[in-house]
């Protein structure tokens, strides 16, 4: 089964150079029913990656550019009057897809964000008096631009919690950028071909469910999350003033699922603390709320998570 992942990654590398972290994140989300929030400057191949993934898996993908004048009906759909039948028909929005790139999600007002995030959680949409189920697999990759702060609507913590992981995507290495530049200039990017079908993807998802997690490792996950809520229990008194809110139970679930998917991607049939270590920052960084004091000191959520990892005993 792990070979299929290798084949998939190889196919994706035809269109996407570098950005292994983003590809791994997307695969983790896809294999464990999670959604991904990506923070990074424009031009980091976010759309390309989503498109390549959809082609490689034979899935449908769509992109929504969030703008301040976007309405919920623009993304979920609306009832449209049909003069021929003298009746209202349903026009489904771009949400009805498998892979959705919600670009610059923080540019749209909160009512649009809420509409999307609700669908992400419930996986169903109600238009008028009719409810539609979004067929799996359904993955939302939302992006936030960290540069611009004017005219944006920051996502509230409760909404951020619905994302399984928050990836901070940085620029490619110089070598990768050189390769991208050459390929883009000569238009020599290879065409991505479907290498897995839906059934195979479903099988992979089932395999991920079967990845074994030892009781001690499960406890380790719970302890990591608990340390964000009660740091003093783990000898982290200093974090008491730096943390306003710890991570929610959804964080434990997502860390558990993400660690399983990571172990699977690495070709393992069981989760080790190393698998947790590979995903813990991405799973927790958007779920903990720092105090004003910590923000004033310039402390980042990643630093807090690192302190917790150092102190919580590894099984």
């Amino acid at each position: 089964m792990h070979k299929k992942i290798e084949v998939l990654k190889k196919e994706l590398s035809k269109a996407v150079i570098g950005q292994e972290q983003m590809i791994d994140g997307l695969l983790i989300g896809l294999l464990s029913d999670g959604h991904i929030l990506v923070e990074g400057v424009p031009g980091l191949a976010k759309t390309t990656t989503i498109n390549a993934l959809s082609k490689a898996l034979g899935l449908e993908s769509k992109r929504i550019q969030f703008t301040p004048d976007l309405l919920p009906s623009d993304i979920i759909g609306a009832q449209i009057y049909n003069p021929q039948t003298n009746d209202f028909g349903i026009k489904k929005g771009p949400l009805f897809t498998n892979l959705l790139l919600a670009d610059e999600i923080n540019r749209a007002p909160s009512k649009v964000q809420s509409a999307l995030l609700e669908v992400m959680q419930e996986r169903q949409v109600t238009i008028g008096d009719e409810t539609f189920r979004i067929e799996p697999p359904f993955l939302v990759m939302a992006t936030q631009n960290p540069i611009e702060q004017e005219g944006v609507y920051a996502l509230p913590e409760a909404q951020l919690d619905r994302f399984m992981m928050k990836l901070v995507v940085t620029h490619n290495s110089e070598e990768d950028e050189l390769a991208i530049m050459r390929k883009a200039a000569t238009k020599s990017f290879e065409k991505v071909e479907p290498v897995l079908d839906r059934e195979e993807l479903d099988e992979l998802r089932k395999e991920v469910n079967h990845v074994y997690v030892d009781g001690e490792v499960e406890r380790y996950i719970v302890q990591l999350i608990a340390a964000t809520r009660e740091p003093e229990r783990f000898g982290l008194e200093s974090l008491k003033t730096e943390l306003m809110y710890g991570a929610s139970p959804r964080a434990s679930i997502d860390l558990y699922k993400a660690a399983k998917a990571k172990a699977f991607l690495r070709g393992n049939d069981h989760v080790t603390p190393a698998d947790i270590g590979f995903v813990v920052h991405d799973v927790l960084r958007h779920r903990i709320v720092l105090s004003y004091e910590a923000r004033a000191k310039g402390i980042s959520p990643d630093e807090i998570i690192s302190k917790i990892i150092r102190e919580v005993p590894i099984p």
Binding site: Q21, H270, T272, P273, A274, I276, G277, F278, V280, H281, I305, S306, K307, I309, R310, V312, P313, I314
Partner: protein, 378 residues
């Protein structure tokens, strides 16, 4: 009486040289006020262009051709501005520079355009200048000939000049400067002389660039040239009489403006008194070791730079040594603790070491902790 008046009238109207041209829609004529002149004697040239074809718009570019046989200055250009009837009157002052028969040549370009082109050019503004499109035709004009007579031999000035001089004192201390001004004033060819004094060892001469004031008129050039200079010497000396040979073309007579012989008494003075006590430089020493100071300065600067560069390296090493993460790694001997440290620091960066530790801890594989630490410290 009638006869003599008639001759004068004829001589007024019959100019010495006339070039008359009937061009494409215009006429022109050039007139010199004399048919012969001495070298450097002023000659006035008038040139007139008159448009005869009034159906076109015409402009003219006119100038004298450069030549080493004469020099010229434009004194005036009068333009009568009437509707499609250009009429221009140029006046030039010419000084012939070579004897014999010389040709005075011209450059004339006729520029023809239309009313529409003129109107278009006016539609532009400061930031959008629109030029006038013209059809340019160079017009060949026959050169005027002028007979130039040579000057009497040795003539340095041509015109009517007076020579005056001003010497503030005739007595000074050794090496003390004696100011000396010479002024040449009058009308004629600008009296600029290369060397008024012959070179001598009796005194040292300091000369400024002569101050020249020249006003050109339709008659001649009115000049005032002032030569400012100073002399100093260590002993008394005599300045010989200065004679400048001049020629007045109007009277056709030579004359010699003169500065009489001058005696200067120089009082000897002790050398020590000559030293500038305010801004005096340090006396030269028999053996000058100042280069050692300069060399030491360079060595100090070199070593400061070298040590600064080295100190940056030392600091980097020091920082590397005192990096708390590296210190923690060095101190840790428990693989589990090391694993948590690496995950906390950067799981992606240390993925290789994490995988080795993971294999040891959870798959019971052998571990070379020292090798991992060495890899991490590198």
């Amino acid at each position: 009486m009638k006869n003599s008046l008639g001759k004068k009238m004829v001589s007024i109207f019959i100019f010495f040289s006339i070039v008359l041209l009937y061009g494409e829609g215009f006429t022109s004529n050039a007139i010199l006020d004399k048919e012969d002149a001495y070298i450097k004697e002023p000659v006035i040239l008038t040139f007139e262009i008159k448009q005869t074809d009034h159906s076109k718009v015409m402009f003219f570019d006119f100038t004298l051709a450069e030549s080493d046989a004469y020099e010229f200055h434009r004194l005036d250009a009068k333009e009568i501005d009437s509707y499609q009837g250009a009429q221009i009157h140029y006046t030039y002052l010419i000084y012939p520079l070579k004897s014999g028969i010389i040709d005075i040549s011209f450059h004339l370009i006729q520029k023809v355009t239309t009313k529409e082109n003129v109107a278009y050019s006016f539609s532009g503004d400061r930031d959008n200048v629109k030029g006038i499109t013209t059809t340019d035709t160079p017009i060949a004009l026959k050169p005027l000939q002028l007979t130039v007579k040579p000057l009497p031999e040795g003539t340095e000035l041509v015109g009517d000049f007076t020579l005056t001089h001003q010497i503030k004192n005739h007595e000074a201390n050794a090496y003390e400067p004696i100011p000396f001004n010479i002024e040449i004033k009058g009308k004629g060819y600008p009296p600029i002389l290369e060397n008024i004094f012959l070179p001598t060892d009796d005194y040292t001469l300091f000369q400024e660039t002569p101050e020249i004031r020249a006003i050109r008129t339709a008659e001649n050039t009115y000049n005032t040239v002032i030569y400012s200079m100073a002399m100093n010497a260590k002993k008394s000396f005599t300045l010989d009489e200065i004679e400048i040979k001049a020629f007045n073309p109007t009277t056709q007579k030579s004359y010699i403006p003169t500065i009489p012989k001058q005696e200067f008494i120089i009082n000897p003075i002790a050398h020590s008194a000559l030293v500038d006590k305010v801004d005096s430089p340090a006396p030269l020493k028999a053996s000058d070791w100042s280069w050692i100071g300069t060399l030491m300065g360079y060595i100090v600067v070199f070593f400061s730079g070298f040590l600064t560069a080295k100190s940056v390296q030392w600091h980097q090493k020091e920082r590397h040594k005192s990096d708390p993460f590296i210190e923690k790694i060095t101190r840790t001997n428990d693989p589990k603790k090391l694993l948590s440290l690496l995950i906390a620091e950067d799981s992606k960066k240390f993925a290789s070491a994490i995988e080795k530790l993971e294999a040891h801890l959870y798959s019971k594989k052998a571990l070379d902790l020292k090798a991992i630490k060495k890899e991490l410290n590198a």
